[in-house]
Symmetry: C2
Subunit: 264 residues, 2 copies
């Protein structure tokens, strides 16, 4: 039986109650199109859309938006030549693009977190899974050793560290995506007595400055910022594996992106 | 005649009309204290406060807040041991700490921007000064050459680049601090036909992804993210030079901070 775009959207949304005003919408394409190939990626970049279309996918599922903002904003990109060229590519390819973000994070456990723990080979270190965070008990390691482990397992060219590389850490907390800001990260670190925070991203003058002060006071506190995409891409890869099992009759392919920053 | 803390605050605020609900408040200390030494820094870290007090300053003027958030939030740090230890240091040292942020950016030209242009030795490249940005006309340089210039002039260990290092750029725009987000940076880049954006910081999935798409489309677009502190510290250093001229009877010292991230 043919599978329609809406069928897959409904399945992705089925595991939690409806979320009002969600960003998980069909950003391009028709819900009644028959799905002949599924592409999954963290971000619907121009390059990812080209690659997905060239691979024969006609449904692309991504975690983040098409239009460079959490919510689509016509004011921002309505008359923008870069976005217009991207829309032209989408129109010509006929690809449908669905954002899987809110429903993904709301489902427990969140595949973005479990996919990351699996990629890090840290499932056995999980001490507590919270709705928006994971708490790990590591054999005491220095911050430098943790950084080396993370870089190697995720294939990352670099990491950003705040605090002392020689600090020994055992209780670590992970906050993916943009959850690295003070309002989430500081109470999380304090309430769970963590030595190390591992975050996607957050404002530089908030949590990193808290860690700087704590480390200067002689506390065993450190922060590892590995990047928004780097923190959530493994979960989207895990989603592609799930979709392969769920829809064996449809080809499913995962498209990674390059790091958004090059360090010079 | 003795100079009081409030006298200096009044002078710093005198050049623009009162700003309602400003964050530029005396975060610690008494307004009627006589100023015996002024310290200036980008950020009132534990270490900067120690250094300022040890140098004999009893007024510290910083651009950013004490408490890891744009606005002081008791919920966030009211029962926090790191912040409590910082408050204890402030109490024991008796130092007053004033935040100079809104009044600083509102005054035209903004010393944060003119101080940065001066440190970059790019005053002669200024094409247009806008209230929140500067537009430069560079002799065509590659992105790699711009990055090398910025690193050398500001003494920075690294920079984050999005786009191609070999892209030739001539029209560049600078947005300091947290103005690197899409809502400010994308229209700015488009409306002023810029090749290169130089920003403090902003969310990774916004402007950097716009640049990634534009570069992939073959456009001469690149982004140089040099860090929030790195973009605003030169302006605070320039402020310390102004204060030396304005208050020759009081010692004034500038306290730099280390980069908040180490790259490993």
């Amino acid at each position: 039986m043919p599978i329609k775009v809406q069928t897959i959207i409904d399945a992705l949304r089925s595991s939690v109650p409806p979320i009002p005003d969600t960003v998980d919408v069909l950003m391009a394409g028709r819900p009644d199109a028959e799905v002949t190939g599924i592409a999954v990626s963290f971000m619907p970049t121009q390059q990812v859309i080209e690659q997905a279309a060239a691979a024969g996918a006609n449904l692309l599922i991504t975690h983040e938006p098409l239009s460079y903002n959490h919510r689509h904003d016509e004011q921002l990109i309505g008359n923008d030549p870069v976005f217009a060229q991207k829309l032209q590519l989408i129109d010509e390819s006929g690809i449908a693009i669905f954002r899987y973000h809110d429903y993904c994070h709301r489902k427990q456990p969140d595949i973005i977190m479990t996919g990351l723990l699996s990629a890090l080979e840290w499932e056995s270190r999980l001490s507590e899974m919270l709705p928006i965070a994971a708490i790990l008990e590591l054999s005491p390691m220095t911050v430098a050793e943790v950084a080396a482990h993370v870089k190697q397992k995720l294939g990352m060219p670099f990491l950003r560290i705040t605090g002392d590389l020689s600090t020994p850490v055992s209780r670590a907390g992970i906050l993916v995506g943009y959850r690295g800001g003070a309002s989430t990260a500081i109470p999380f670190m304090r309430d769970h007595n963590l030595d190390l925070l591992i975050v996607g991203e957050g404002p530089e003058w908030e949590t990193p400055e808290y860690i700087r002060d704590a480390a200067h006071q002689g506390r065993t506190k450190a922060l590892l910022t590995f990047g928004h995409a780097e923190s959530e891409e493994p979960g989207m890869r895990a989603l592609s594996e799930e979709l392969k099992l769920r829809y064996p009759e449809v080809p499913v392919e995962f498209f990674p992106i390059q790091p958004i920053f090059r360090i010079v």
